[in-house]
């Protein structure tokens, strides 16, 4: 009979340092295909933004010097279309990251059975999955952050001339804070779905449906409701605005409102300070539109004041923008954390 000496097991199992560098190498070996593709995509997007941005700055420089009123808006159509295109491209990036990096991350291991190799190595399955998520998430967030910064720079002249606003749903979701948050959320959702389903293609489709659906829901519904939380209220001029939900931004020489603010709602009040009914508003607006009084034409707000009526708006002040950015990023990161915790729990339960 052969004999074997087994090292005595310590009473309390030792704590090992987290193997970041070795796991970075492991992550690179296993994910390099999707990482290289992502890097190419990132470089392409960055180049697109820089080229478009330089063109926009050149084209919009006269407007920047003298204001939007002196610009030929028709000649800027190509630039605003390009801004819309770039914004949409940036919005799609988190969804693609979730589909092509997040979803296959664990689904491929489950589908091929290689998790039985990975989870029985010395690293341990919890460290394996946590370090992978942190490394890939960190790289994804950093890349998205750079693209967000470039997007902010690119949109600068459009905002300065009132052609666009970072309050608008598209631009709001591609800033230096929200784009990395969306990317992390989509990556985590993809990894969770992949682990849960255990099939790569199905996980990619489910991730696209979830991340794309959530983004679409935000752009079409949630964004305006989100910006309607606890607005400020001020009296304003009714010129160019409307009644009820406004969901637009104030810009000099155009829609009146506090500079750089997001307008939430507009309504009229009568001499008794109560909101006017629709019929009363309709009558009032008709009178304003048909009045030939110089006051009505020059300063509608003053015209209303003289009648003891008033037009009010609720709005988000310009200085609240980053609070809302931080709040949305925090919500997305909370969702990301929930997925991450779910992944660690599922990895430990899966057997």
């Amino acid at each position: 009979m052969r004999t074997q000496s087994i090292p005595a097991r310590p009473g309390a199992l030792p704590r090992y340092p987290i193997p970041w560098r070795p796991m970075a190498r492991v992550t690179w070996l296993q994910q390099r295909g999707s990482l290289i593709t992502a890097a190419v995509l990132f470089a392409g997007c960055a180049l697109l933004i820089i080229v478009s941005g330089l063109g926009a700055y050149a084209k919009l420089s006269p407007c920047l010097a003298s204001g939007r009123g002196s610009c030929d808006l028709n000649s800027l159509h190509a630039q605003t279309t390009e801004l819309t295109f770039v914004t949409i491209a940036l919005l799609v990036i988190p969804v693609l990251a979730g589909m092509f990096i997040g979803a296959p991350l664990l689904a491929r291991e489950i589908e091929s059975g290689s998790f039985r190799f990975a989870w029985t190595q010395g690293t341990g399955r919890t460290r394996w999955v946590v370090t992978k998520m942190v490394l890939l998430g960190g790289a994804g967030a950093a890349a998205a952050g750079v693209l967000g910064l470039l997007a902010d720079w690119y949109a600068g002249p459009f905002e300065a001339t009132g052609l666009a606003s970072h309050w608008l749903a598209g631009q709001f979701n591609v800033t230096v804070l929200t784009l990395p948050a969306w990317t992390l959320c989509s990556l985590a959702a993809g990894a969770f779905v992949g682990l849960f389903i255990g099939r790569v293609v199905a996980a990619m489709a489910a991730t696209a449906a979830f991340a794309g659906g959530l983004l679409a829901l935000d752009l079409m519904r949630l964004h305006d409701r989100f910006l309607g939380i606890a607005p400020g209220v001020t009296q304003s001029s009714p010129s160019g605005t409307g009644l009820g939900a406004l969901n637009t931004f104030a810009w000099p020489g155009g829609i009146p409102g506090p500079l750089g603010s997001w307008l939430v709602n507009g309504w009229y009040t009568g001499p008794d300070g109560q909101r006017l009914s629709s019929a009363a508003v309709s009558s009032l607006v008709t009178k304003l539109d048909t009045s030939k009084s110089p006051v009505a034409l020059g300063d509608p707000a003053k015209w209303l004041t003289l009648r003891h009526d008033a037009y009010w708006i609720s709005y988000q002040a310009a200085d609240r923008f980053w609070y809302f950015q931080a709040a949305e990023a925090a919500i997305l990161l909370a969702v990301t954390m929930m997925f991450a915790i779910g992944i660690v729990k599922l990895v430990n339960r899966r057997a």
Binding site: M1, R2, T3, Q4, I6, P7, A8, R9, P10, L13, P14, Y16, P19, P22, M23, R25, V26, L29, Q30, G33, S112, G113, S114, F115, R116, F117, A118, W119, T120, Q121, G122, T123, G124, R125, R127, W128, R349, A351
Partner: protein, 305 residues
């Protein structure tokens, strides 16, 4: 010291028990053959041992008491899963790189030297290797981790006879060099006999036979003689399996320390491991377990050793 110790271990998948009431202690320094029919619970037991599955009931500890699946245990147990799941899109060198970065005790030089001896080029894609080469690569990675316990789940399945022979030869050489403990499951009983010195036979999710192979073989015999005396034989020995053909009865019995004098006309023959295993597989209610406790069988025909 036990390399694997279980107590009342059970694993349930939905409403099916893959393993239940499994209590055993496998001593260190053995090459343990884990055999049993399909669905006997072999893979489940191995997965519980390496931390890939969690017990529904009972407990399993490894290498002298470490919880299965703990980091301490994972560093010291190498596992080669059924079908050898490796990363087919990596080259052999990258696969070694991957393993080296996931195991602090990994010996890169040893793995490269072994693969060179086996004629497996480092530049080849793992997915392009033959089944035998993949198995050898997995075994090389496992050995290069310098494990105290090597766990192999059906390592011979899917291999042709030559690849099977080469694999077992590699296993024997490495075991001789390192003196590690090995637990491996297999259907190929003839291959086990050459290399294993300890047997665990699972059936229906329970341990049916366990012990040193030499003692098990020495403690059993095939007795043949006139059927009229078969009853007397059965009174003296635990009969594992009986067969009657015309005027001849053949009983595979558990003789224990000795069989003494047999009735006239009865002969005794040694059993092979394969005969012994097949006899117990055909009689799931029989058992042969180390004393003092019977493990997991409600009405055993056999006795404890």
């Amino acid at each position: 010291m036990s390399v694997i110790e279980t107590s009342g271990l059970g694993k349930q998948y939905r409403d099916i028990w893959a393993l239940r009431d499994c209590t055993m202690a496998i001593p260190a320094g053995r090459i343990v053959a884990l055999v049993g029919p399909n669905g006997a619970g072999k893979t489940t037991l191995l997965h519980l041992t390496v931390g890939l599955a969690r017990a529904t009931t009972g407990s399993v500890t490894v290498l002298g008491g470490a919880p299965a699946g703990s980091l301490w245990a994972l560093e010291r147990i190498a596992f080669v899963a059924q079908d050898v799941p490796l990363y087919g899109y990596l080259s052999v060198a990258e696969m070694l790189d991957l393993a080296a970065n996931m195991n602090r005790r990994f010996d890169r030089r040893r793995s490269e030297s072994r693969l060179s001896e086996l004629g497996i080029a480092l530049g080849h894609k793992v997915g392009k290797l033959s089944g035998g080469q993949r198995a050898q690569l997995a075994l090389t990675i496992a050995f290069s981790r310098h494990p105290d316990l090597l766990v192999l789940d059906e390592p011979l399945s899917g291999l042709d006879p030559l690849a099977r022979h080469d694999f077992m030869a590699s296993l024997m050489i490495a075991v001789a060099e390192d003196g590690l403990s090995v637990v491996f499951s297999s259907h190929v009983i003839s291959e086990l006999e050459r290399v294993a010195d300890y047997l665990v036979l699972l059936s229906g999710g329970r341990v049916q036979v366990m012990g040193e192979i030499s003692e098990l073989v020495a403690g059993h015999a095939t007795l043949s003689g006139p059927p009229v005396d078969a009853g007397r034989i059965a009174e003296r020995f635990a009969v594992v399996q009986s067969q009657r053909a015309g005027r001849q009865a053949q009983l595979l019995v558990r003789t224990g320390n000795g069989q003494g004098a047999l009735p006239e006309g009865w002969d005794s023959a040694e059993v092979t491991l394969e005969e012994l295993v097949l006899a117990y597989l055909r009689e799931p209610s029989a058992c042969a377990l180390p004393g003092p406790a019977l493990v997991g069988l409600p009405s055993p025909k056999g006795t404890t050793a």
